[in-house]
């Protein structure tokens, strides 16, 4: 367990430390942050921003997010099934065809309802 996951944890620690340590070291070399009103203004191609950016946006993105959760969870269910496929035999095949059948019916339904239309 330690032999397998230990190196991964070390790698993670190095990958996390690299940007933070570099940023910290360069703090002593790079010019000090010297804010002026123009410099810290959000970039909108030269126009002064009129509103806060974190407003409302189209519902499409929410729908995509919900659909993603449904499909991705079902993909994750397929992974252990695929690994054990040889062991499960005909039983595994039929079970998964039923599972995918339910999913495909749902997929056709969201297609017909227009959830996949963009604008």
């Amino acid at each position: 367990m330690l032999n397998e996951y230990g190196p991964i944890l070390i790698f993670m620690a190095i990958a996390a430390a690299f940007p933070l340590v570099t940023l910290w070291i360069m703090k002593f070399i790079r010019p000090k942050f010297n804010p002026t009103a123009e410099k810290v203004m959000p970039y909108e191609c030269g126009i002064t921003p009129e509103s806060d950016a974190r407003g409302r946006y189209t519902v499409r993105f929410y729908i995509i997010a919900i659909l993603f959760v449904v499909f991705d969870v079902e993909t994750i269910y397929l992974f252990p099934w695929a690994v054990q496929y040889q062991v499960l035999g005909l039983y595994g095949l039929v079970e998964m065809l039923v599972f995918l059948g339910v999913l495909i019916v749902g997929y056709i339904w969201i297609w017909k309802r227009g959830a996949l239309d963009w604008i």
């Binding site: 360069m26 010297n34 959000p42 950016a53 993105f61 397929l78 995918l100 997929y107």
Partner: protein, 404 residues
């Protein structure tokens, strides 16, 4: 003395792992830096330009100059930004992109860790990169970054589904999630997975291009619409971090595609002994590179550049001679073929950028949800059924019944 140190390292698996990790990290950073150079050069040649030529011979020092410039820039935090999240987001992107390399087998004798849920780990950790993108876009408090982040995340999750389903097709053949085992299985079968799962390969490549936000799917950074997408407000080293994460992701998806579909570290036709002379490919290609470098150097009129190129060519020949020793030659086989395949993949990425026009956003979503997902599902079902019919040891196999 040296032997003693060698024994100490071998006795402590974690110490050995740390050395490997540092090697991978250093090589990866170098590859990412020079991938940017390669992209600029290849794009330039495809458009009949020369690309970077000023910094160093043939612009070879350009990545170092760029990196130094970005490191020395002022660290600007825009007004109204959520400071903590703004500072954290690029680090998350880099962390997610780099960590995945811990389970990639670069060669049969060189990988950091082989866990039995390798592929699952890759899918899980690489998806974390999206937090970096969406948090960076949201915390900037600017319209362009927010829209870029939303587009990017919607695109990423849409293609993630198709890519995941395409990978299940490979799993049905290899019956293991361990990356090393998947390559070993391809060696046993004597055929790469790409020939058994061509459709899954195509789906995965398209999804990989989309997930790395590359052309023709680079909507999140469409400069004509969104200036620079989610990292519009970032500057200096934090911008460099996002840049690094993007190019690391390119290397990463290439490594995954090579491991799963193109036989990983195996050489072409690894089971055909008549082609065993291919093991001389590493030194031969190094000598070829030396000839090319010499030819480049002779064209230069600057004496210093000529000396540099000649020295580089001699260095290539020297390395070529060193790795010709049978022991070393055997050791570098895996790394060499893996590297060649990954390089070919990266070249293709740049090629797409030079060739394809950008998609419109609704077209992008259409391709993802109405084409990729049904195709991936169909591929999955067909693979499962065929695999069942072909498995000889199933007692009630219809094929066996037909052949009775």
């Amino acid at each position: 003395m040296l032997e003693n140190a060698f024994n100490v390292v071998m006795a402590h698996p974690l110490l050995l792992a740390v050395i490997k990790i540092l090697i991978v990290f250093a090589v990866l950073s170098g590859i990412v830096a020079y991938l940017v150079y390669m992209e600029r050069k290849v794009l330039a040649f495809m458009q009949a330009r020369l690309g970077p030529m000023r910094v160093g011979p043939w612009g070879l020092l350009q990545p170092i100059a760029d990196g130094l410039k970005l490191l020395l820039k002022e660290d600007i935090i825009p007004a109204g930004a959520d400071k903590f999240v703004f500072l954290l987001a690029p680090a998350i992107s880099v962390l997610a992109a780099f960590t995945v390399f811990a389970v990639i087998p670069f060669a049969g004798n060189f990988y950091i860790s082989d866990i039995n849920i390798g592929l699952l780990f890759i899918l899980g950790v690489s998806s974390l990169g999206i937090y970096g993108i969406i948090l960076g876009g949201w915390s900037s408090n600017s319209h362009y970054p927010l829209l870029g982040a939303l587009r990017s995340s919607a695109q990423l999750v849409s293609y993630e589904v198709a890519a995941g389903m395409a990978l299940v097709g490979v799993l049905l053949i290899s019956n293991s999630l361990s990356m090393v085992e998947i390559v070993n299985r391809q060696q046993q079968m004597g055929v790469w997975n790409v020939f058994l799962q061509p459709l899954a390969f195509v789906i995965y490549v398209i999804a990989a291009v989309a997930e790395t936000n590359r052309n023709p799917f680079d909507l999140p950074e469409a400069e004509s619409e969104l200036t620079a997408g989610f990292h519009t407000e970032y500057s200096g080293f934090r911008f460099a971090l996002y840049f690094m994460a993007e190019y690391t992701n390119m290397v990463l998806v290439s490594c995954i595609a090579v491991t799963l579909f193109l036989g990983g570290w195996l050489r072409p036709f690894s089971s055909v002994h008549a082609l065993d002379f291919l093991r001389w490919a590493p030194p031969v290609s190094l000598v070829g590179a030396a000839v090319f470098i010499l030819w480049l150097g002779l064209q230069s009129r600057v004496p210093l550049e000529r000396y540099f190129f000649v020295a580089l060519a001699l260095g290539c020949v020297a390395v070529g001679v060193i790795i010709s020793y049978p022991l070393i030659l055997n050791a570098v086989q895996g790394i060499f073929w893996f590297g060649v395949k990954v390089l070919a993949f990266l070249y293709a990425f740049i090629w797409y950028r030079a060739t394809f026009p950008r998609y419109r956003y609704d077209q992008l979503m259409n391709v993802g949800w109405r084409w990729m997902i049904p195709l991936a599902l169909a591929n999955l079902i067909v693979t499962a059924v065929v695999r069942y019919l072909l498995s000889a040891h199933t007692p009630a196999s219809p094929v066996a019944w037909l052949l009775r």
